[in-house]
Symmetry: C2
Subunit: 366 residues, 2 copies
């Protein structure tokens, strides 16, 4: 693209010649807020950055890279001249508008579920399958869901060494996976139950005390709820099947055996996962720990004798996947058990989308 | 033993001739309280009931079967004439005193971990292996731990039909598994965090707010803690290895593959388990559901479309194992995934001990 301005580039007053213009669709949402934070703190690879929202939030003034920016309403013209468009919006908005952005010449980095399983849309996790970002016939690159993203970087590293054959996953998912309504509901329920010592002893007493259930099918405060998503075939939930589909696609392992059970826990942010992974090769505990410790995007936190293991309260707000409790099965030398935590709004949503957009930017920038 | 009084029998004022005398050691503790409740509500099979505690609690007046009873201090003589002794006390107390009771002629139903893996002590779950109660060369019968008891009745029923080969278990364990200190700590932490919307967003903010950690190695309110027990070989925790040992012994399946991950959740009472069970035979979802629904001690609660699945808040205080989320693996026709909940102080401790004692009583009563 050289140094002249043109489609997908911008020349701004601080001399960002040749750098791609970025549109952030959904800038005023919860994930959008994290995106602006990341854009302001990571290496600056963009020219102009346009903040886009639904008409209802347009006109708001936000800040990105230390500069004020006014939010504009979503319309086809916002993509004119944009080389990259990040979408952090509900599925139906992405489904409707990502093709519009692509038709106007922007490469879309989409965080939603709208295109993840489309065969002509790559599903990209930069630490795992960065090369797939180049093969995007529709001009759209998708990111996996937050539960898959809480484990896929760690699993990808182990898969490269040992060859993953089977996964059994049980989740400990935060309320924020159900959006702002989930967060608000958990806080409201926590306020109602407080430290009330009369609760938690008789069936239903918590249910009678928490008030509104919000987006959850049962009380979340002082409880765990073995359900997320909508009903699917065979008693599975949509969230459980998504994990299976997404892990297979990102790892390029269509025959991988996956059984996931999704359970919501009374944690505000950061998903945790208990993972039983069976490999083709024999595994060694120390080597597996070293692989995880040496993998970009993963932090090993694994010394139980010193009370070192990841917990959601200790990793929330951070970028990496935290790995601990790494154990080789006592009954199968090819199986590892481990416990993983990751912030579902950062790597689980905003960060992966930002990383995908950076891969695209690197490709577009001379 | 006929109808005359003698060792292990008693004739009381309400005519319980021939029925065995029972000693309840640990009557003033948390599990002891549930024992007294169960003794007062289940079929009355005992003659005299003696309530026994440490010297510090002796002299307290409690109620059992609607009658007042004074607690006596633990001493060898309390077992004289007792046919059965329930022990619901810490491991070291059982280790020291159960042999004393047995030497005085009482058959011991022990709730502790002291004898569970002893080869000459049967480990009994009445719904699963009742016949093993008769083979007790030391006069001691042990009960499994509360986490094993949250699943073993359901697993035993499925094992009889399909032949269990492998188990992958992730737990969602209540604070009460760590005793009264665990319960008190969780309530105190819940009171401190309340519904504070400033918490849960930055690493460590919950840790800074909850106050004392009590028996837990990390904050439990607004968090999950992937650790229970003490460090064992290979990064495993003692609780995780106990589950493996106990399930194998109760099912009589010494080669069963078991990988367990124990995680504490901010729930006061009732343990939950996400179970992936691989069998020798092909399984069918509907048939597995029918087996569970038809098994004594198990309640099937499995209709996610109507928001019917077990949660700890909805089953606490009840006796059965609650089973839901029954699904056949999409990738292995011999594997089932399911979610189980059970009150860790009832079936998980008091109830199983009471049931074991009832088996012994039935054998001793003419």
């Amino acid at each position: 693209m050289g140094s002249t301005t043109g489609p997908g580039t911008a020349r701004t007053r601080d001399g960002r010649a040749g750098r791609p213009t970025l549109a952030v669709v959904g800038a005023t949402g919860a994930v959008g807020g994290v995106i602006l934070d990341l854009l302001s703190t990571r290496r600056n690879v963009y020219g102009e950055i346009r903040l886009v929202s639904s008409p209802g939030s347009a006109g708001r003034r936000l800040s990105v890279r230390g500069e004020p920016a006014e939010v504009v309403a979503l319309a086809p013209e916002v993509f004119d001249g944009a080389a990259i468009a990040m979408f952090v919006v509900p599925d139906e908005v992405s489904a409707a508008w990502a093709p519009v952005a692509a038709a106007r010449g922007a490469v879309v980095a989409d965080d939603s579920n709208a295109f993840r399983m489309a065969p002509d849309v790559p599903l990209v996790v930069p630490e795992v399958n960065p090369d797939r970002v180049r093969d995007r016939p529709r001009g759209i690159v998708a990111s996996p869901g937050c539960t898959t993203l809480a484990m896929i970087v760690a699993l990808g590293a182990l898969h490269r060494r040992y060859g993953l054959r089977e996964l059994v996953v049980s989740s400990y998912q935060a309320a924020s996976g159900a959006g702002q309504d989930g967060i608000d509901t958990l806080y409201a329920q926590m306020e109602k139950v407080g430290g009330d010592r009369a609760l938690g002893n008789r069936a239903g007493d918590v249910r009678g005390a928490v008030g509104e259930l919000g987006p959850f099918p049962a009380p979340l405060a002082m409880n765990v709820v073995p359900w997320a998503g909508s009903p699917a075939e065979g008693g599975w939930s949509s969230e459980e099947l998504k994990i299976r589909d997404e892990v297979r696609k990102v790892l390029g392992a269509p025959d991988l055996r996956v059984s996931a059970t999704c359970v919501r826990v009374p944690v505000v942010k950061a998903h945790s996962l208990s993972v039983h992974a069976v490999f083709r090769e024999r595994v060694e505990q120390r080597e597996a720990q070293a692989i995880l410790a040496g993998s970009p995007g993963v932090v090993l936190c694994d010394n139980p004798e010193l009370h070192e293991f990841p917990t959601p309260a200790d990793v929330v707000g951070t970028d990496p996947t935290w790995a601990g409790r790494v154990r080789r099965s006592l009954d199968d030398p090819r199986a590892l058990d481990l416990f993983l935590c990751g912030d579902n709004l950062r790597k689980g949503a905003a960060l992966n989308t930002v990383q995908v957009a950076e891969l695209i930017a690197a490709e577009l920038t001379p």
